[in-house]
């Protein structure tokens, strides 16, 4: 399973099953037991932290012609920092050639930027599994209810993924975080006891 089905989707399936059962007139299908189960926690990610004005990519990439691997003469901000297995990887290993607004899995399936974790999970399966259950990464919301995930790219710059630091940003009026290339400055140290004496 690649992504958690939205509750609506799950309900639709449940309703469909119940309808099928009812159609066959199967008695005592225990619909109550299905309802007692805790609803699956919604895996809803914050919007991806795009640099301003960069998306949609198809604004610029209208006519595609060259798909050979090369040093780019554009996208300096990515080219200069690129450190994601740079020896073996380049843009089109993750970005789709035809539709630049989508990402491309190894299988050829296209995924939107909002589900980039599926792309990351292809190689980083251990981290992906941890992230899915809330062990890796951060969740916000309720400890016993609906919560929101941050995407992998909210903390790791996909072009230079080792964690350095994060900052808060606003995308489409929604608060989220974006990775930075600088490490975080710590808050002030606590006072020593002798500094507190009157």
């Amino acid at each position: 399973m690649h992504r958690a089905p939205a509750p609506g989707f799950a309900l639709a399936i449940a309703a469909g099953l119940l309808a099928a059962i009812a159609a066959r007139a199967a008695p005592a299908a225990k619909p109550a037991a299905a309802q007692e189960r805790k609803p699956e926690v919604l895996v809803q990610a914050r919007p991806p932290p795009f640099s301003e004005g960069i998306f949609p990519c198809m604004q610029c990439h209208k006519d595609q012609h060259d798909r050979t691997r090369r040093e780019l003469q554009f996208h300096d901000e990515q080219q200069s920092i690129f450190d994601h297995d740079a020896e073996h990887r380049w843009c089109l290993d993750c970005h789709d050639f035809e539709n630049r607004d989508m990402l491309r899995l190894a299988s050829g399936e296209l995924v939107p930027f909002t589900e980039s974790y599926r792309l990351c999970g292809q190689c980083h399966g251990d981290k992906y599994r941890d992230w899915r259950v809330g062990v890796h990464g951060k969740r916000v919301g309720l400890w016993n209810g609906a919560k929101t995930y941050l995407l992998c790219v909210s903390c790791h710059n996909p072009h230079s993924p080792a964690f350095k630091g994060v900052k808060e940003i606003v995308v489409d009026g929604r608060k989220t975080v974006a990775p930075t290339l600088e490490r975080i400055r710590p808050e002030p140290r606590p006072k020593r006891p002798e500094e507190m004496r009157p």
């Binding site: 259950v133 016993n144 975080i184 140290r189």
Partner: protein, 318 residues
């Protein structure tokens, strides 16, 4: 019981004649007078140290009826208004059934940025300066030494964290299942709630600081002076057993943000952590984040050898 040697033992100890035990008989009117006089003296003594008779005769928090509790909470709100000029909402929401809180801290992820320390301060209304009280203390330790208090630095300063060769080990109340602080409290001003939170009733604490010497984690803090807390920084959403403003001379501690977590929210330190190193959830729910951590990761209990059985776990995600 054997009588101490050398002392004469009176025959038939308990059967002594009543007039021998009670001394000369006392006039009932005189007794009533003495009682009234004593009560009057106590009242004036109380008034002189700023405690009302109502407060003095109050029952323990656990024995308060619903109406009595409502009165107590209203009184605290009134005092908040007098002290800070701010309208506050003080509740005493109880534990949820079937919930036992557990906390996980990922030592392999923490970068020592101290965001948690100040998120906690903002949420929980502790004294800001003189005394400065932080419920969370982030220790910087040497990777070469491992988790070792002898190689820990609380007052580290840096332009950027994490520093090379160092790791960070935040310490706060471990919410022990076998809490030494609760055992030593002479007034039952601190106890463990059914959801695992060790709480303090600031109205019951006499400031003897026995709990501070009992706690092996340094998680309890004393208000040596009236807390300095600017009205503008007061968090008005308060819990009786949590972040309501404290008076001088009482002990306070981390409560897993009782005012938030009993409403289903994450503690402030979990919410602010920029690296997601802090995990929180219900230990009795197999799907909760904390249980997932315990099922999958290497978990460490701080000072495990003391058998305090904390509900706070450190782990390594890598």
């Amino acid at each position: 019981m054997t009588a101490p040697r050398g002392l004469p033992v009176l025959p038939g100890g308990a059967d002594l004649a009543p007039d021998l035990r009670a001394g000369p008989p006392v006039d009932p009117a005189r007794r009533a007078f003495m009682r009234t006089a004593a009560a009057g003296a106590a009242l004036s003594a109380l008034a002189s140290c700023g405690v009302s008779m109502d407060d003095f005769l109050r029952k323990h928090f656990k024995e308060l009826s619903k109406d009595e509790l409502a009165k107590v909470l209203a009184k605290i709100e009134k005092r908040n208004k007098e002290r800070f000029g701010v309208d506050t909402k003080v509740t005493a929401e109880g534990p949820r059934p079937g919930v036992e809180f557990g906390y996980g801290l990922d030592i392999s992820r923490c970068i020592g940025c101290r965001r948690c320390v100040y998120a906690c301060v903002k949420e929980n209304n502790p004294s800001r300066e003189a005394p400065q009280i932080h419920w969370i203390r982030v220790l910087e330790m040497d990777k070469d030494e491992g988790v070792d208090i002898a190689h820990a630095e609380l007052y580290y300063e840096a332009d950027a964290v994490p520093r090379p060769g160092k790791f960070y080990f935040p310490v706060q109340c471990q919410q022990c299942r076998n809490p030494p602080c609760v055992k030593v409290c002479p007034t039952q001003a601190t106890w463990k709630e059914p959801d695992g939170i060790v709480v303090v009733d600031y109205d019951w604490c006499i400031g003897c600081r026995c709990c501070m010497s009992g706690c092996p984690y340094g998680a309890r803090h004393f208000n040596w002076a009236t807390p300095t807390l600017p009205a503008a920084e007061l968090n008005p959403v308060q819990h009786y057993l949590g972040n309501r403003p404290r008076p001088k001379g009482v002990v306070e501690k981390c409560t897993f943000c009782i005012q938030r977590t009993r409403k289903g929210r994450y503690p402030a330190c979990v919410e602010v952590c920029p690296v997601g190193a802090r995990k929180f959830g219900n230990l009795l729910d197999p799907e909760s984040e904390i249980r997932q951590v315990m099922d999958r990761k290497r978990v460490l209990i701080f000072k495990e050898e003391l058998a305090t059985h904390p509900q706070f776990y450190y782990f390594y995600a890598t």
